[in-house]
Assembly symmetry: C2
Homo-oligomer: 358 residues x 2
């Protein structure tokens, strides 16, 4: 029987969503003219039960781990880059640090399974399950027990921060080889073929190796993959992916919006939605990644990304870049004048729905 996770995810607050939608219609603009910002303001009201949810306490959870499959020529980078980039995060020199400083986001770096002894650091949470997964081309990446442990670690990260006043969670990742593991997770949960999920990476030879690795992983782990989402995650996933599943589930359980980064976070979101479908209501897709399989993930989750900037970096960079749009959505809903307040002639109600006020 498939493993499950005991978690309660509250339904979205319909009343708050209706109030937000009604207020959008009274603001001094043609109804609908702020497009996706209006939708976002309504979604955020549904998640939080408030028309003015606070967004000040914002954290990107950048989870790192190594992958056995990285030794099989699927990445342009040597495996030690995972640890080197974690040190770069702690020194504040990576893209995620720069963008997080700009957007006033705290970066929580967590080691879920880096194959290196990382130094103690106030900004590093050590939650190492093991020093890297086994190669998914030979058997399961990890045991089901280890997958559960990594998910629990991700949940604990969020639980600790919720206790400290977390308003909005963002997901991020670092792990050489983790696009291959993510592609395998996506194939496992969607029955898509590896050729529709794995795009060009290193060169044509690298692409072939990566597709072949995913295909082999699916064959070798077929029985475990078919058992359920947690088993599939254990079979072909990674420790940071499992940790992100926990981050997403716990954010939803705490009624906190969770901004999903790109391809790797998308794979984790797919697992989270398979475990607890109600989690999808708390997800905000930040951007459309350049990775081939990302579109299919978003369609499966019913999410439309806010940004489309040809990003393919990970770390949480896309999620952080989307934050000003969340803030804009909440601010316009709450701070704009209504037609009444501003003494602006109300437009014809019938016409308003498809009008521009120009």
């Amino acid at each position: 029987m498939a493993e499950s996770i005991e978690i309660y995810i509250p339904p979205l607050d319909d009343g708050a969503m209706q109030m937000a939608a009604a207020r959008q219609g009274r603001l001094t603009k043609p109804a609908g003219s702020l497009g996706r910002l209006e939708e976002l303001s309504i979604s955020l009201a549904g998640m939080t039960g408030r028309l003015d949810p606070p967004l000040a306490n914002r954290i990107v959870f950048t989870l790192a781990a190594d992958h056995g499959v990285a030794l099989e020529g699927v990445s342009a980078y040597p495996r030690e880059v995972t640890a080197q980039m974690v040190l770069n995060f702690l020194n504040g020199g990576a893209a995620i640090n720069v963008l997080a400083r700009q957007m006033n986001v705290r970066v929580v770096v967590a080691d879920l399974g880096v194959d290196s002894d990382l130094p103690a650091h106030p900004d590093l949470r050590s939650l190492k399950v093991r020093r890297g997964t086994a190669s998914i081309t030979n058997g399961p990446a990890m045991s089901v027990r280890e997958a559960r442990r990594a998910i629990e670690s991700g949940r604990r990260l969020v639980r600790d921060e919720v206790a400290n006043g977390l308003d909005v969670a963002l997901t991020g990742d670092m792990g050489i080889g983790n696009t291959t593991a993510s592609a395998a997770v996506i194939c496992a949960l969607t029955e898509l073929d590896s050729k529709d999920v794995v795009g060009r990476v290193v060169d044509d030879a690298g692409l072939d190796r990566k597709r072949e690795a995913v295909r082999t992983a699916m064959r070798v782990n077929a029985a475990l993959v078919a058992t359920g989402p947690i088993e599939a995650l254990a079979a072909v996933g990674g420790f940071e992916i499992a940790g992100l599943v926990g981050v997403i589930l716990e954010s939803a359980a705490a009624r906190r919006p969770v901004v999903i980064d790109g391809f790797i976070s998308g794979a984790a979101a797919l697992v989270a939605a398979s475990i607890a479908p109600a989690a999808t209501g708390y997800m905000i897709a930040s951007h459309r990644s350049m990775e081939l399989g990302h579109g299919a993930v978003l369609r499966r989750l019913g999410l439309r990304p806010l940004l489309d900037l040809d990003l393919r970096l990970g770390e949480g960079t896309g999620a952080v870049l989307a934050l000003p749009l969340l803030e804009a959505a909440v601010r316009t809903l709450n701070e704009m004048a209504t037609f009444d307040e501003a003494g602006v002639s109300e437009r014809d109600q019938e016409a308003a729905h498809n009008s521009s006020h120009n």
Copy 2:
């Protein structure tokens, strides 16, 4: 003979662009993985001649005017809404005010031709050419002399702010009826048909009236439209559109990036590019508007918008929403560690171009 405008727009700085591109390749990320942020950092270097152009002093120029054609049922709003919304801008209650506060942008509101006696206000520049254009369905909206005067007013607005340290200009508009005038300007400069430029607005009857108005305007003003871009602007444009042409041209002349808002600003950008093609190098398209003809305008200008959020409000809202991306582009280029600084293993140079570091 067609009217022309004397203006010198400097070429983009190739050396700075090459330096920016080279630095992008040394930062701790796979080359190209920050996608459009990388392109943007290179464009901004070309415009300003600096890898770290300042962006702190940012102004949205929201230009307002009335339109004779608004009396012909092309808008869902009565014409007095233009003046009411200008007052709303001055009171800080409109969407542009809320977003500008969030993004630390100053809103300069200018009356280029509102059909109302607006009160004096420290944030309002009075540059009224006349109280609204004549209807473009009966003849020219304004004289060529008036068009030049409105363009000059827009240029002066920017010149004054450049003297005070303006770093980046944003365009915005307010004017009941101005999507009809903008559609006509676009038809005039692209030879597109009104059915491909004018989309559904009020209702099917309103749509027909709007298309018919544009078609009539093109027929009635055919000779003037064919003379040149300034004449076409005078024939079927509006005072705020003409003012925005000046804002765009002068920003380019001062080597300041100019963030173009949506459909109305796009029409102005098209006129500016027809007058001085080099101005295009200084334009940044903020978003893809819901207005039908906007895509054609962007293609004609060779611009790819940064955002796609189903906006159709104007005022400069889309331009302001894109600002954090400009800031992110400049910050990542300048603040990220290089591979050398971070001691991160350099990836295979050949492979790097198409790789993800995951």
